[in-house]
Amino acid sequence: MTHPTHRPASNLHLIVALVFALIVVCVLGGLGLVGLRQQIASAASNTQRVEREITQVERRLNYLDTKIAEVNNPSFLHRRAHELGLGLQPAQTGQFVRLTVSGEARDVMFARRSERPVRERDPFVQTFDLAVMEPLRRLE
């Protein structure tokens, strides 16, 4: 009594194919994993670089802020005006000319009506230096 012996041969092919497929999947998976890790590392280092750049920019902004404050400081401005010999003097009380403008006149001074001052107790006051006023007087 003999049995057919073809089945083991066909199974062997199948097994080899599956093993091969497994190896391919493993290799590809491994490579993918390595690639993914590589991308994570690359993204992380990029993030780190951007963070460093942001820190640097913020540091420069902070520095700029303090520098702006320094040059805006009234004492600094006085000192510079003196150093440069500009001869600047604050306007004296008598040099101020104040004009009181009525509500209607005030309205037309603003391009956007909604932004005009609405407080009645806050009259619009414009001051001019007398030097500026002189030509206006001559025009009258």
């Binding site: 590392a41 780190q48 902070n62 520095y63 702006i68 101020f96 009525s102 209607e104 006051v125």
Partner: protein, 583 residues
Amino acid sequence: MKAAVFQSWRLILIGFAGCAAFGAIFWQLGQLHLVRGPALAASAEDARRSLVPLEARRGDIRDSRGVLLAGTRPHVVVGIDPAFFRDDDLPKLPELARILGLDTNEVKRAATTRYRSEGGRPIRWVRLGQVDDATYDAALALRVRGFYGTRGFERHYPAESLAAQILGFINREGVAVMGVEQQMDFYLRGQPGWRISESDGRRRELAAFRVREAPPVEGFNVVLTIDSVVQSMVEAEIRALAETFSPDGISIIVTEARSGAVLAMANYPTFDPNRFWEFPLENQRNRAVTDSLEPGSTFKIVPVAAALEERLISPETLIHCSLPVVQYAGRSVRLPSDVRELGEIPLTTVVARSSNRGAAMIGMMLGSRRLHDYSALFGFGSRTNWPLGGEIPGRLHPVERWDGLTISRLPAGYAVSATPLQIHMATATLANGGLRPQPYLLSRVVDRTGANIMHFEPRAPVRVVSEETARTMADLLAKVVSPEGTARRAALPGMRVAGKTGTSRKIIDGRYSRTDHFASFTGFFPAEAPEFVITVIVDNPRSSGVGFGGVVAAPAFRNIAEGLVRYFAIEAPRPERELARFP
């Protein structure tokens, strides 16, 4: 047979040796994994993982217009490591020195001196200075080996000594020492953050292995009521006073009349918080709240306002100012003297000429109890609630502790001591319609975007005298700043100023000095609708004559007031000043 036995014996031996070796390996593996495993794992974790602290940037202090008064500035501390420096880089050193603003020889010495003169130990790093980031980057571009820096932050006060005693400073240990820095430290300092990450063998962070991160929270910004322009005007005036009179000290306070908002408060001597260690400790004192003086004639507003309020007198009431001795409560009381005999004069002249005897007479009309109570109501003898602390209450004795002369001395501003701020707030009471305001300095706490975190309102004022009395007092004090008064030098063109001079002798070694004194002036303007209150106190001005308050302090008041008129475009409430009216 023998060979088989031998072979068997050798096999057993080899087998045993193999088993022993594997046993040892397994034993060691067991030791490493099971017994010492957790400790070793923790050790490896410690070596790999790092907790990186993330520094929070301290918030700014800004004035009412947003001008930066105190900020945090980045800097780089640079230096050179002689062990890493190579002689090939020697030609680069002059350029490095130029960029750093140093002497070439100094840099060369730092780079080439590899061992200490004492002990011969190697030098690892020599500090070359502190520079900004741009300078550091330029210096790094030279690629001088061994040259590097450490980035950090420092507290910076861009306006140098401006409002130094109000702002305070951060000491070298990073501790807020005084002023706003200390009082608002909780809001300013922010919340430091941290990051858990892994690092490589060179301690460089491996960003891909960051585990957890708590970002730092920046400190909030604090906005003050101070106006840096007004503060600057005041400090310029202080410098001028100091130059002219070489005094021991000066305090000037400027507040808004209604809210009590402090626009400026400055003292002499002062200091630069950027270099606080270079100045004597006493320069850090905010004399306006920490030092007291006998207010002298500036105190006379108290008995006069009290007597008006109690309707004991009116501006026309005649006061006898020639009597050297009067009867009070059944005994003779000697009155303080005046500069010259004034005779019987109306109250207006008593105030305008600052008569000590007149004030004493008014004080006695009021009586001890009422005089004391009104003095206390005006804020003498108690703190003004200065928001930065460090304030002293001054001294106003209870009536029970008064001696026989107090009733005649107190109305003239002696037998009482007060801080410049107390004197200022007493005057501000009259400028504010009889309501004593409280000093208002801290305006807002805002975040980085400018959104309000906290908003401080001025504290409720205390009613001291009626509005009518305050108005009458303003009229009386306006006479002081007139040709017939003691403070004509405080007058502003085209604007009524109300104020009171004071010249009080200092107590030295328990006696009133004949030479040392305080000269003061406190006042407000415009008298009809007060906008600003200014107080000038000069401690011991040195001049050829007597440095009266009207001579020393009143001109300073006028200069500051003129500056305020220009800066705030204040118009006197008089219709004739309007030059043109459009329909």
